[in-house]
């Protein structure tokens, strides 16, 4: 069934033009607003990272001074984490598909949903304003006591993150209430697609953990403005307390990034293996397990900060424990592939890339979770490589997989599959070329955040820089292909992949009203009987 028109993308109502988008309460339009904004900030983040790598092409200052390098890695972190990878999957695909996947016509609080996007944009504007005024040089973690004393615009950057946190909380509240209240008749919790389960678990982390970051950041501002002495040791404060409060949010935030990505992979694998997913309940519960146990591991960021040895042992134990639900997912995906009728389409290739890259990220995480090894590797390139394998190789590649899976539904048009496959391959090679040498550099002792390095690190630094060029080339090809396809590609049929979840019953793009009448759900999300 081809789309019979522009669907929700069409105009005709009031307000029209740009206002029909930025004041729309339609969850699909808000999803598109997020997509455009998030990808714009992704370009900013990639550019900053690319220039930082380029700076390291030779010894000493090459294209920037040390202070500029400090500002760049701070802003690269803030933009990539708070403006791209944390909101990317929940805000884009969650907003667009969660209501459709449960058979609802919108989220529970559509106006709150729009407000969430406006908060996001306000936070983004504040974060980027620091670029013009004088960017913070603290790193994205804003560690005390340096963040309390530096003369750069830390308060503004911190307030930007605070506003972005508000946006995240509102999205989380909306998703929890929507899942509880708006499921179609017959859509029990164990008929929910696993992407919805992942978003649900993520939403709880957003609600419970984000306020702690908000309080912590307000304390930083209060400390800078009023000198209240909570974190500043010179005033009797405890800088390690800052790290606790920061990581109580920021480690679970890693799961805000990766859990929705795992949800995407759980959708893609069964569709392209043409099999019911292996261990549905185990994957669903593992999402809740990751959300729960993942909230108890933050102290592994602080093994060498001066926190107690007892705390170190406890946090190390929980860190190993959280590997179990993560591994449950990977094993179940692989078991789903076993004896499946594999279709090597682009979303599936991205999903395979995700499994490979996430596995490296997860396993290097276990190495860092071991107390004794952490002392050697702490604050080295090994850590940088590890978290890029999780956040970019994991959450980022899952987001790209989602783009290639769902964009035909969102825009009603197909991209060029051959070019998309090449872009995946180039990005995958570039990513590994960029970040794998960093694992070795880290083991050899190369510290992170340094704008210069010893001559013995030159070869691997050069390989890594070349990798950044390959990765950027792959990304350019990918986004050019997706943009061209979205604007001028051939019309997409309503179910190009043969998926069984509810979004594939709607035309591409969906109409303004998702479902004309209340839907009765009679089968599970991975029951492919009757589909090609």
């Amino acid at each position: 069934m081809a789309s019979d028109g522009a669907g929700y993308l069409g105009g005709g109502g009031r307000p029209n033009g740009l206002f029909s988008w930025i004041f729309s309460t339609d969850h699909k339009r808000i999803g598109i607003l997020y997509l455009v904004s998030i990808l714009s900030f992704f370009v900013v983040g990639v550019s900053l990272g690319f220039l930082m790598r380029l700076e390291l092409i030779s010894h000493g200052p090459t294209i920037m001074e040390a202070s500029t390098y400090n500002a760049f890695f701070t802003l690269h972190g803030v933009v990539m984490l708070f403006l791209f990878i944390i909101p990317a999957t929940p805000s884009v695909f969650g907003n667009f598909f969660l209501p459709i996947m449960i058979g609802a016509n919108d989220v529970s609080f559509p106006r709150l949903n729009l407000l969430s996007w406006w908060f996001y944009m306000a936070g983004a504007a504040l974060a980027l304003a620091t670029l013009a005024l004088g960017p913070a040089d603290t790193g994205w973690t804003f560690y005390a006591p340096y963040s309390l004393r530096t003369g750069t615009y830390v308060s503004l950057a911190v307030f930007a993150v605070f506003v972005l946190g508000l946006s995240s909380i509102l999205t989380g509240i909306n998703f929890v209430v929507t899942v509880h209240r708006l499921r179609a008749p017959g859509m029990g919790f164990f008929r929910l697609p696993l992407f919805v389960w992942a978003l649900y678990a993520t939403a709880w982390i957003q609600i419970v953990a984000t306020p702690i970051l908000g309080v912590n950041l307000l304390l930083v501002i209060a400390e800078r403005v009023f000198g209240i002495g909570v974190f500043d040791p010179a005033r009797g404060g405890d800088p390690i307390l800052y790290q606790h409060l920061f990581w109580i949010y920021s480690h679970p935030a890693v799961y805000i990034m990766i859990l929705p990505g795992m949800g995407i992979i759980s959708e893609i694998i069964p569709v392209f293996a043409r099999k019911v997913i292996f261990g549905y309940r185990a994957i669903a519960y593992s999402s809740l397990g990751i959300a729960g146990v993942g909230s108890l591991v933050w102290g592994h960021h602080m093994f060498v900060s001066g926190s107690s040895y007892t705390a170190g042992v406890i946090f190390s134990f929980f860190t190993f424990l959280v590997a179990i639900p993560s591994a449950i997912k990977v094993f179940n995906w692989v078991a789903t592939l076993y004896k499946g009728s594999i279709v090597l389409a682009t979303p599936f290739i991205f999903a395979l890339a995700f499994i490979f890259l996430f596995s490296i990220g997860g396993l290097t995480g276990l190495i860092l979770g071991a107390l004794s090894v952490n002392v050697h590797l702490h604050d080295t390139y090994f850590v940088v490589s590890h978290f890029h394998y999780i956040k970019f190789g994991g959450a980022g590649f899952a987001f790209f997989a989602g783009l290639h899976y769902w964009l035909p539904k969102m825009t009603g048009r197909m991209y060029n599959a051959k070019v998309a496959n090449w872009s995946c391959l180039i990005s995958f090679l570039g990513f590994n070329l960029l970040f794998f040498p960093m694992l070795i550099l880290g083991i050899e002792g190369m510290p992170r955040r340094y704008f210069d390095y010893l001559p013995q690190y030159s070869t691997l630094q050069t390989v890594s820089i070349a990798g950044s060029w390959v990765l950027v080339a792959g990304l350019i090809v990918m986004f050019a292909n997706l943009l061209k396809g979205s604007l001028r590609g051939p019309r997409a049929v309503h179910n190009p992949w043969g998926g069984a979840t509810l979004e594939w019953r709607l035309p591409s793009p969906p109409g303004k009203e998702n479902f004309e009448k209340i839907l009765e759900v009679t089968k599970g999300p991975y029951d492919f009987r009757g589909l090609r």
């Binding site: 509880h180 702690i212 606790h244 909230s295 602080m302 926190s307 107690s308 040895y309």
Partner: protein, 96 residues
Amino acid sequence: MDEKEGGRERTGYATYALVWLGLMGLTWLSVTVSGLESGALRIAAPLAIASIKAVFVLAVFMHLRSERGLVRWVILIGLIAFLVSGALVFSDVAYR
């Protein structure tokens, strides 16, 4: 001050104002007690006062006293998260 609406109690403005004044009073008490040279009480008393304030905010401003069922249970998730996080932080502070 409070009215019944659709079977649920609706909080009146006077109640909000009274509770707010009460919270301000407790804040004053908290600041005063923190300034006293009274050993352990300097920490324990403000924490106790803060807990009482939190109960007021939850019950009145967040309408939990007129909610029932799932919404009341959901607040437990927040409390458990708070207690577990606090315990883990103290596993550092107490053994440093």
